[in-house]
C-alpha cells in the first residue's frame, strides 16, 4: 500500500522551505505573517485564538496543530479554545443560513 498522502504531518515543519523556490516573495510573506501574529493592539493569545478559529473554519490540519500549540503556549485554556471554535462554527452556521434569505425570496417569487 502506498504511503503517499496529500496531507503529511511533517509538511508543516517544512513550511519555511517555500522560500527555496521563490525567496523574495516567501520571505516577504513570513515577515508579514510574523508581524501580524506579534503582540499589537491584540495580544498574541487573542491572535492565536482567532487563528485557531480560522483553522477550524478552513479545516486546515496544519493550522489546527500549529495553533493548538500556540494557544497553549500563550496561556489559553480549553474553555477559551473551544469557545473560539464555537465562534467559527456559529459564523459558518450563520453564513450558511443567511443565504436562505435568497432561497426564500426565490421561492416566494416563483410560487403562488
Amino acid at each position: 500500500m502506498s504511503n503517499d498522502h496529500y496531507l503529511k504531518r511533517d509538511h508543516l515543519k517544512k513550511f519555511g522551505e517555500i522560500t527555496d523556490f521563490q525567496e523574495e516573495l516567501g520571505s516577504k510573506f513570513f515577515e508579514y505573517y510574523n508581524s501580524v501574529m506579534d503582540e499589537g493592539a491584540l495580544t498574541r493569545r487573542e491572535k492565536a485564538l482567532i487563528a485557531l478559529a480560522v483553522a477550524h473554519a478552513q479545516q486546515c490540519p496544519y493550522c489546527i496543530d500549529a495553533y493548538t500549540q500556540a494557544c497553549l503556549k500563550e496561556g489559553a485554556d480549553e474553555e477559551q479554545m473551544m469557545e473560539a471554535v464555537h465562534v467559527a462554527a456559529a459564523m459558518k452556521a450563520g453564513i450558511t443560513l443567511v443565504f436562505s434569505v435568497q432561497m426564500m425570496e426565490d421561492v416566494k417569487k416563483k410560487t403562488m
Binding site: 496561556g75 480549553e78 474553555e79
Partner: protein, 356 residues
C-alpha cells in the same frame, strides 16, 4: 492528557528513580534515540563553553522532599512519602555558617518539597533574617491550609519580610488541577487570598508575592510579560487576587516530567523543540552561574535540576557543605547535560523566570 498519578516515582517503584537511567535517556542511549546535539556542542558553537560561574549571590537550599502534593511535573519527585529526605538541624546550622561567611550571598532561596513541613523551617528563616539576608520561600500555597498549625504562615512570612514564590500554572481550575492534583486550585486561591489579606502583593507594603507559571503539558511557555498581564487580569477579576510578578519557567525533562513526556509519546518532539529554541543570549543569565544548590543531606550542586539528577558540583573532594570552599567553587566548570536546554529555550528560564 494522561491519568494523573497520585504517588511519587519512588512510591511506585519506578525505574526512573535511578538517576543513571534518566541520564541514559537524556543521552539517547535508552528509550529514544535522539539525533540531537549535546548542550556542550551548542555552547561551543556560540563560544560559551565551558560554562563558568559568576559571583555567588543566591544560596538555594532544598530543605526536604516532603510535600503535601504530588504534582505531575515535579522534578524533585516530592510527595507525602518522602519523610526521610529532610534537612536536619546540624546541616541547617552549617548552611547558616556559610551564608554568614560569604558576603556576596544576598538571598537564601528555600525550596522543597513543601519547605514549611520541615520542623526547623521557622527557626531557620528567623536565623537567616538575623543575618540580614533576603529569604525566598517557594511555597506550594496549599500547605497553608493543610493543617491548622500552618494557617498563620502568611503572618509569619510578613513578619520576616519573606518573599513568597508560589506555583500557579493557570488561572483555570482545570489546567491547574491537571498538573497539581484535584482540588489544588481552589485551595491555592484561598491561600493567595490569605496572603493578600496580610499585605502580600498589595501596593506599598513591600511584601512580594510572585507566581510561577510552568506549562501544563509538553509545550514551552509563552511571553512572560503577556502572561503576567493576563494572569493579573483574570485572577483579580475572578477571585480578587493580586500578586507582583509572574515567573515563566520551562519544564525540564527530569523525574516526573520526564516520565510524563515518555508515557505520552511527547519526549522526542519536546527535546527537539527545546534544542530548536536554543537561545545563546540566555546563556550568560542561567541561574547556575550565580546560584549554588544544597540538598537535604548537604551536598552541593550547580542547580536544583542537577541535584535531582545527582550531578554534584565538579569540585572533587569539596562537594559537601562540610568542605565548602568558595574559592574552589569559583574556579569550577558547571556540570551540563541535555536537560540544560530547558534553561536556554526561547526567552530562557530560571527560578526567577525568563532571562533573555
Amino acid at each position: 492528557m494522561t491519568v494523573r498519578k497520585n504517588k511519587s516515582l519512588a512510591a511506585r517503584g519506578s525505574e526512573l528513580t535511578d538517576t543513571m537511567i534518566q541520564l541514559r535517556i537524556l543521552s539517547g542511549a535508552e528509550r529514544a534515540a535522539l539525533d540531537l546535539p549535546t548542550f556542550e556542542q551548542k555552547l561551543e558553537e556560540c563560544g560559551q563553553y565551558p560554562l563558568r560561574p559568576a559571583e555567588l549571590e543566591i544560596f538555594q537550599i532544598n530543605i526536604g522532599k516532603l510535600c503535601n502534593q504530588v504534582c505531575a511535573h515535579c522534578h524533585v519527585d516530592a510527595g507525602p512519602d518522602k519523610k526521610r529526605e529532610n534537612m536536619d538541624r546540624p546541616t541547617l546550622e552549617r548552611c547558616l555558617e556559610i551564608i554568614a561567611a560569604v558576603p556576596s550571598i544576598h538571598t537564601v532561596d528555600i525550596t522543597g518539597g513543601a519547605p514549611e513541613l520541615n520542623p526547623h523551617f521557622r527557626w531557620f528563616v528567623e536565623e537567616v533574617c538575623r543575618l540580614g539576608k533576603q529569604v525566598i520561600d517557594r511555597c506550594n500555597l496549599t500547605v497553608i491550609l493543610s493543617n491548622k498549625k500552618y494557617h498563620d504562615l502568611p503572618e509569619f512570612f510578613a513578619r520576616h519580610g519573606v518573599t513568597v514564590v508560589s506555583s500557579l500554572p493557570h488561572y483555570s481550575r482545570r489546567r491547574t488541577d491537571s498538573q497539581r492534583g484535584e482540588g489544588v486550585f481552589e485551595r491555592s486561591i484561598r491561600a493567595l487570598q490569605m496572603l493578600n489579606e496580610v499585605g502580600y502583593g498589595q501596593p506599598g507594603t513591600g511584601l512580594e508575592l510572585n507566581l510561577v507559571y510552568n506549562p501544563t503539558g509538553a509545550f514551552l511557555p509563552g511571553d512572560q510579560q503577556s502572561l503576567e498581564a493576563e494572569f493579573k487580569r483574570q485572577l483579580e477579576r475572578r477571585y480578587g487576587v493580586r500578586f507582583n510578578h509572574l515567573y515563566c519557567l520551562t519544564n525540564l525533562p527530569v523525574s516526573r516530567f520526564l516520565e510524563y513526556l515518555l508515557e505520552t509519546g511527547n519526549y522526542e518532539a519536546y527535546m527537539e523543540e527545546l534544542v530548536q529554541a536554543f537561545n545563546p543570549a540566555a546563556v550568560p543569565n542561567v541561574m547556575c552561574r550565580n546560584t549554588i544548590s544544597v540538598s537535604w543531606d548537604g551536598y552541593l550542586y550547580d542547580c536544583d535540576f542537577n541535584q535531582m539528577l545527582d550531578l554534584k558540583v565538579a569540585v572533587p573532594g569539596k562537594q559537601h557543605i562540610n568542605d565548602f570552599d568558595i574559592e574552589a567553587l569559583k574556579q569550577r566548570q558547571i556540570v551540563l547535560n541535555r536537560h540544560c536546554f530547558g534553561c536556554t529555550a526561547g526567552a530562557g528560564s530560571s527560578c526567577g523566570g525568563q532571562i533573555a
